[in-house]
């Protein structure tokens, strides 16, 4: 098998006195969906920010297709084919959907010696892509601020998908989404994966992970608890791994086993 698309080896990341990552190794192959699970504060967001060039790791190395690289900025990572949809900020509410969608990669057309933002093309593509994700816009000039939280996240995902990269990172894309939109996102992940793109999918929801994941890595307090392949592990075992079986068992008992 060829070298993984991207491989992070023994990554450490310290913030002043806080050790957020303490040696985490994860690799992403082409066409796989690698799920990252873990409790709050386990370091999932920190880890993927390291992968996408936002943070520089304190220790460890990053290999892209076998060669060691380092990212100085998110732009570097993007150029290396790593696209990310962040948990918290992705959209700028005051700007129109089109401007947000194309932010950083605006299509241009030449007029004489000058290059201008090609709005007609941009608007058209935006409307189409949004419709594909199940969002009907009043107009592409509509400000993102007029969309609901979930709708915004959908726009961000549509954008990342449209600019299809080699590795697509999704930080809890489904946590604020409704059932239908979650299904859409999961279906999209599935489609993206089938096109040979590696997906890193972060979630708290074991069922969402089981639905699309090929491999599962559980983080705990800045360390890897282990990586499992699809089929080697079932939902209950994963849940146990994430939270420490005993507590959960008790809770499930008292709440009717439906958590």
């Amino acid at each position: 098998m060829s070298a993984p698309l991207i491989e992070l080896v023994e990554i450490e990341k310290h913030f002043g006195p806080v050790i957020a990552l303490n040696g985490v190794s994860v690799s992403v192959d082409a066409g796989e969906c690698h799920c990252l699970l873990g409790d709050n504060g386990a370091g999932k967001s920190t880890f993927i920010k390291t992968m996408s060039g936002v943070h520089k790791p304190t220790g460890g190395k990053i290999l892209a297709e076998g060669r060691e690289i380092s990212f100085d900025s998110p732009r570097d990572a993007m150029l290396a084919g790593i696209a990310t949809v962040y948990q918290d900020l992705a959209m700028i509410p005051l700007m129109s959907v089109t401007r947000n969608f194309w932010m950083g990669r605006e299509p241009q057309k030449r007029v004489g010696p000058f290059k201008f933002f090609d709005f007609s093309e941009a608007n058209e593509i935006t409307m189409t892509e949004m419709a594909k994700m199940g969002i009907r816009l009043r107009s592409p000039d509509q400000a993102v601020g007029t969309l609901s939280g979930g709708e915004r996240q959908t726009v961000a995902i549509a954008r990342a998908v449209y600019f299809g990269a080699k590795v697509l990172i999704l930080d809890e894309p489904t946590s604020a989404l409704g059932v239908r939109q979650t299904s859409n996102v999961l279906a999209t992940i599935d489609k993206v994966r089938k096109n040979g793109i590696g997906v890193v999918f972060i979630t708290h929801n074991v069922r969402h992970a089981m639905a699309v994941g090929d491999r599962f890595t559980v983080l705990n307090r800045g360390k890897t608890l282990g990586t499992a392949k699809r089929g080697d592990i079932n939902a209950e075992e994963l849940q146990d791994l994430m939270a420490g079986g005993q507590d959960l068992a008790q809770l499930e008992g008292s709440l009717g086993g439906t958590v």
């Binding site: 996408s52 936002v54 900025s73 998110p74 732009r75 993007m78 150029l79 990310t84 962040y86 900020l89 992705a90 959209m91 700028i92 509410p93 005051l94 700007m95 401007r99 194309w102 932010m103 950083g104 990669r105 605006e106 241009q108 000058f114 290059k115 201008f116 933002f117 419709a131 594909k132 994700m133 199940g134 969002i135 009907r136 009043r138 400000a143 601020g145 007029t146 954008r159 239908r180 299904s183 859409n184 279906a187 999209t188 489609k191």
Partner: protein, 375 residues
């Protein structure tokens, strides 16, 4: 993914009430400024219509003042949309003027060199402002407040220690025949005005050495600069990729950074552009009047910010319009000069200005909420 496509929400519109196309076309960032401009003109035509305010010289007069405001307002506007602002504009005006005057008059360097050197210096300072803001993560209010003090102090210090004066004259003579100085201090379309004067549309001088010439000599380069900068700023902002980056940097720098917008570069460039505008302002002034003074530009930063804000921009960045800022500058200039033509006690000018500012921003906020669904 055909199934999700068909699942696209069928008629979301049931929840959006009707909004007429007319109303939609109206609500744009500069709407407030447009209304303000109309109001202000109606007001002054009513109370000062026969005072010479709308005669050709009167128009050139408030036009020049407005053009002055507009030049710094364009810089401040783009910078503000990029999410920062610059309190050192005023000090920069004083500083670059003194630098040019010192070079030409005191050290005898050619005017073109002095002008280029002043531009180079202020652009560097602008970049430094930007660099500090980016690197330290401090609010630009603080960083540029520091440069306000540092630059003003330095300006007084160098002018006092080198010439023992805070005003340095004789630049016009030194710049006579210079290849680029006329770009800032000259007047254009003189021929047009001679023709207009012959037609009787424009008055003529009746006495002195220039008897027989039209009272309006030409369009000052200041106005040309203002127009060029407004058009440039407007196109840059609304029609180019870079303009989108400016909006993005101001709207949410972090989000923009994450998608690969070179936010730092954008912000630093906008600081430099603001410094550039300040220096254009200063050069025009120095070349027109032939002297530089250490106190030039005092409080101009506020005037620039006021114009921009009247023009509908958001103080916190990410939203605004160059055309709006230009209209804000026009309102500012017309009110300032118009009160004079109307014979109002001059100390009341500030009261007016404060009231206009308040009304304008309230109107603008209202319009903006309609557009952006901001809550």
């Amino acid at each position: 993914m055909a199934e999700t496509q068909t699942a696209a929400t069928p008629d979301q519109d049931e929840r959006i009430r009707e909004m007429s196309t007319f109303r939609k076309a109206l609500i744009r960032p500069e709407l407030g400024a447009i209304c303000g401009t109309i109001l202000v003109f109606v007001f002054f035509i009513a109370i000062a219509g026969d005072s010479g305010m709308f005669a050709p010289e009167g128009i050139i007069n408030w036009g020049t003042v407005s053009a002055q405001f507009a030049i710094i307002a364009v810089g401040a506007c783009l910078l503000m949309i990029a999410g920062e602002f610059d309190l050192s504009v005023g000090s920069m005006i004083g500083f670059s003027g003194i630098v040019m005057a010192l070079m030409t008059v005191h050290w005898g360097l050619p005017a073109w060199f002095a002008i280029l050197a002043a531009f180079a210096l202020t652009l560097t300072i602008g970049a430094l402002n930007g660099f500090l803001v980016i690197r330290t993560g401090l609010p630009s209010f603080i960083v540029t407040l520091a440069s306000l003090y540092i630059l003003r102090g330095l300006t007084i210090f160098i002018s006092i220690t080198t010439t023992r004066k805070t005003i340095i004259g004789g630049v016009r003579e030194a710049a006579e025949g210079d290849p680029i100085a006329w770009l800032f201090g000259g007047k254009v379309f003189s021929g047009l005005f001679v023709w207009l004067a012959d037609l009787g549309v424009v008055g003529k001088f009746v006495a002195g050495p220039r008897a027989g010439q039209p009272v309006v000599e030409g369009i000052p380069m200041l106005m040309i600069w203002a127009l060029v900068l407004i058009v440039f700023g407007h196109i840059l902002l609304t029609r180019t990729r870079f303009g989108n980056w400016v909006f993005a940097s101001g709207g949410d720098a972090q989000a923009a950074r994450y998608v690969g917008v070179p936010v730092n570069r954008v912000k630093i460039l906008m600081f430099m552009f603001s410094a550039f505008c300040a220096t254009v302002f200063a050069t025009c002034q120095v070349m027109e009047f032939g002297s530089a003074a250490a106190d030039r530009g005092l409080l101009k930063e506020f005037e620039a910010i006021i114009s921009v804000v009247i023009g509908g921009a958001l103080l916190t960045g990410g939203y605004g319009s160059v055309v709006g800022a230009a209209l804000g500058a026009l309102i500012f200039g017309v009110v300032q000069q118009g009160l004079f033509f109307a014979g109002v006690e001059s100390s009341l000018f500030r009261v007016f200005l404060g009231v206009i500012l308040l009304l304008a921003v309230i109107l603008n906020t209202f319009i903006r909420r309609m557009i952006t669904g901001e809550r």
